[in-house]
């Protein structure tokens, strides 16, 4: 069994609502953003978000993309907070919060991929996934909401 099983993402209070609100504002388009946090001794904590523009102007309701500059900017923002980019989030308008084949093809290992389903403009289910080492499948990751960690 790979290490991706039984993994967990702890979201600081408010971040889940921030992701849901971003998905609702972007509807019927997909929203996207970076998840900043830290991982230590197997504990992965999300501590802040960086909302980013969906660069897919040709098909924004079922695709999202970011530029390399967006990625580098997110990494820089993380470093300034003494954090890392631990994952990315996006929304699935009028579709379940399950990764698509397109998501898998473009995914990287290690990152947490949070997906929020937005149905008729209302954010519903939110899930998180990690790509297996062999790139073949996504494994679900438990999301746990927690109070913001003390500085």
């Amino acid at each position: 069994m790979s290490e991706e099983h039984n993994v967990r993402l702890e979201l600081a209070a408010g971040l889940a609502e921030e992701i849901r609100a971003h998905g609702q504002r972007a509807y019927p388009h997909e929203c996207c953003g970076a998840i900043l946090g830290r991982e230590s001794e197997g504990l992965r904590e999300a501590l802040s978000l960086r909302q980013l523009p969906n660069r897919r102007e040709d098909s924004p309701s079922n695709r999202f993309s970011l530029t390399a500059e967006d990625v580098l900017g997110a990494e820089q923002a993380a470093r300034e907070q003494n954090l890392e980019v631990i994952g990315w989030y996006h929304s699935h308008p009028n579709h379940p919060a399950r990764p698509s084949e397109y998501d898998r093809e473009h995914a990287w290992p290690w990152y947490s991929y949070v997906i929020v389903s937005v149905v008729n403009g209302v954010a519903v289910e939110m899930t998180s996934w990690r790509l297996a080492d062999d790139r073949a499948v996504f494994s679900p990751e438990q999301i746990q909401i927690r109070a913001r960690a003390a500085a």
């Binding site: 997909e30 996207c32 897919r56 098909s59 079922n62 695709r63 999202f64 993309s65 970011l66 390399a68 967006d70 990625v71 580098l72 990494e75 890392e84 980019v85 990315w88 996006h90 699935h92 308008p93 579709h95 379940p96 399950r98 990764p99 698509s100 084949e101 397109y102 998501d103 898998r104 473009h106 995914a107 990287w108 290992p109 290690w110 990152y111 991929y113 996934w129 297996a132 080492d133 062999d134 790139r135 073949a136 499948v137 996504f138 494994s139 679900p140």
Partner: protein
């Protein structure tokens, strides 16, 4: 030429958690080849089965995207820094097998 190759966070797990590697190489292709020789598990994440750099892998020499230079044949000089920058994309509709 001695160059530094920055390993992106999601791939460090396949490179003994190292943030970068210092390698001798004359081109970007040689540097990435050296990197994947050092850390063989990186290869499937950087290259397709046909041996091409994956489309969602961006490679920069200092601040320049190698797609606008000579791709893997881009020459490098002593002290250059090669950065591997993940391209992030996705989207709904089709569903994938999960476990």
């Amino acid at each position: 030429m001695a160059v530094k190759v920055i390993i992106p966070t999601p791939l460090r797990t396949y490179a003994q958690r190292r943030e970068f590697a210092e390698l001798e190489a004359r081109t970007v292709g040689e540097a990435l080849g050296g990197l994947t020789s050092l850390y063989a598990e990186l290869r499937k994440h950087l290259y397709t089965d046909e041996g091409h750099i994956r489309s969602f892998v961006n490679v920069y020499v200092n601040d320049d995207d190698i797609r606008y230079l000579a791709n893997e044949n881009t020459p490098i000089k002593d002290g250059d820094t090669i950065s591997i920058v993940p391209s992030i994309a996705g989207g709904g509709r089709e569903f994938v097998r999960v476990c």
